[in-house]
């Protein structure tokens, strides 16, 4: 049973509008800064015109961990959790599960693509291996 995020006006696009390997990341049109977690005001130029924009979820592993401990009674373990740099949104990282056939081979620098799992009104992002997807 996943713990789901509370949706508000600032994070709604991120949690509900991801599809086709693309994720909605807030960007400031005035200074082009990507902002994640999303904010209402650009922390760089203080612009108020920030808006979510569909960005390719292609990403590169910055770091990872394999979780072995079932923190909830029905949690299946082990599974991989990565922190990945979003290639098309400099400065933005997304932490998410990485579904892979080869958990032992996970490495920093590995290329990922994004997929989504639908849970209630949420489209929960997770990563897959770009190489496995291409096969």
């Amino acid at each position: 049973m996943a713990v789901l995020p509370e949706i508000d006006m600032i994070n709604e696009a991120f949690w509900t509008k991801g599809r086709d390997g693309k994720i909605m990341i807030v960007q400031c049109p005035d200074c082009e800064r990507f902002i994640h977690p999303p904010e209402r005001i650009c922390p760089n130029c203080l612009g108020r015109n920030v808006a979510p924009r569909a960005v390719s979820g292609d990403a590169t592993i910055y770091s990872f961990t394999i979780n072995h401990q079932p923190w909830l009674p029905d949690m299946a373990v082990p599974f991989a959790l990565v922190v990945a740099d979003i290639d098309a949104a400099p400065g933005v990282r997304i932490a998410a599960r990485f579904e892979t056939d080869d958990i032992a081979e996970i490495a920093i620098g590995q290329k990922l693509i994004m997929d989504f799992e639908e849970v209630e009104d949420i489209r929960l992002p997770f990563f897959r291996s770009a190489q496995e997807a291409a096969q």
Binding site: V3, E6, N67, L81
Partner: protein, 390 residues
Amino acid sequence: MTLQKACITGTGMSTVGRNTMRLAIDHLADAALAAIADAGLTRDDIDGICTYPGRSDNAPGMSPLGVGEVRNALGINTRWHAAIPEGPAQFGPVMSAAMAVMTGQARHVLCFRALTESSSQSAGRRASVPTGKNARVSGWLSWYLPMGAMSASNWAGWIATRYFHEFDMTREHLGMLATAQRENATKNPRALMQKPLSMDDYREARMISSPLCLFDCDIPIDGACAVIVSAGDAAKDCRNAPLQIEAMGAALTGKDTWDQRPDLTTMASHDAAADLWQRTDYKAGDVDVFAVYDGFSIFVPLWMEAFGVCGHGESKALIEEGAFRLDGRHPVNTGGGQLSAGRLHGFGHLHEACEQLWHRGGERQVSDAQVAACGAGGGFLAGALLLVRQ
């Protein structure tokens, strides 16, 4: 106007245990009354109370007592009080109390931390996994829990994996830290774990969140710890040699996140410790004892680098040399730390630093300790204190 620096004048700790089935307020009263007596004060001298984070019902047993419960239970009338949920980590109350006594809001402030995470866990609600009462999660936790990163061990695992990658550290190094801290714990009667831990025990331990195994994680406990923060002039009349809060560091750059910091081989610890050194003429080389947050073993090298004991990524060599051991050049977590003495959320570290500066360390005493550096927090939480015996 130059403000006279605040001092720590007394400390107290309850018996720390697992599954004690005692009420939090009983632990708290033991710790608070011991601290007041240690300072040579009475309840009537205490005119301020401060805690971190305040009463919280979101994470089981993480903070069962707020300022109000403690005021009521101990019958203390205050001129100043506060709970600091968003501040320089677990040292928020100590720093706030220092500012309160420096500005005359209070003379003697009781700072406390009480936890019943062990009992809560045994009752079926896992400690430190914020399950909350609401079906949905908001705030910074919402970027991790829904993604499956439920535990701080996952977030610390990311830091450790990246640090290992960049600086060729291995589990052996963390094992050396964990076993050395256990050795310290066996010399600390207050420490939860009294049985030695061998490298083989460490190597064979089950993995929690790679590369962190069971012995890289601190231990949820039931217990409480209290320190008295006194105005500089009032401290002179107390029983112990005043431990002056020479400098405090609370700087924080970037966002409140565990994953967006550009360099995850550093933490907010680096901001706070660097800021601390801006506020004093003391240098890292003057420090006799370090007490640094070890919610996870990987935080220890990061904190030591943050304090400038060595350069970025250079902890590995110091660990191999044994520099962080009790008999090393930079003794760390001399009472066993949270890994072996139990998770008192930074207050245990502060307590041990004071024990060392008051030369009450017994078998684990660092010879003639005069200066202690304390760091609390991990990830985007950090507070740093430099204590100097007067």
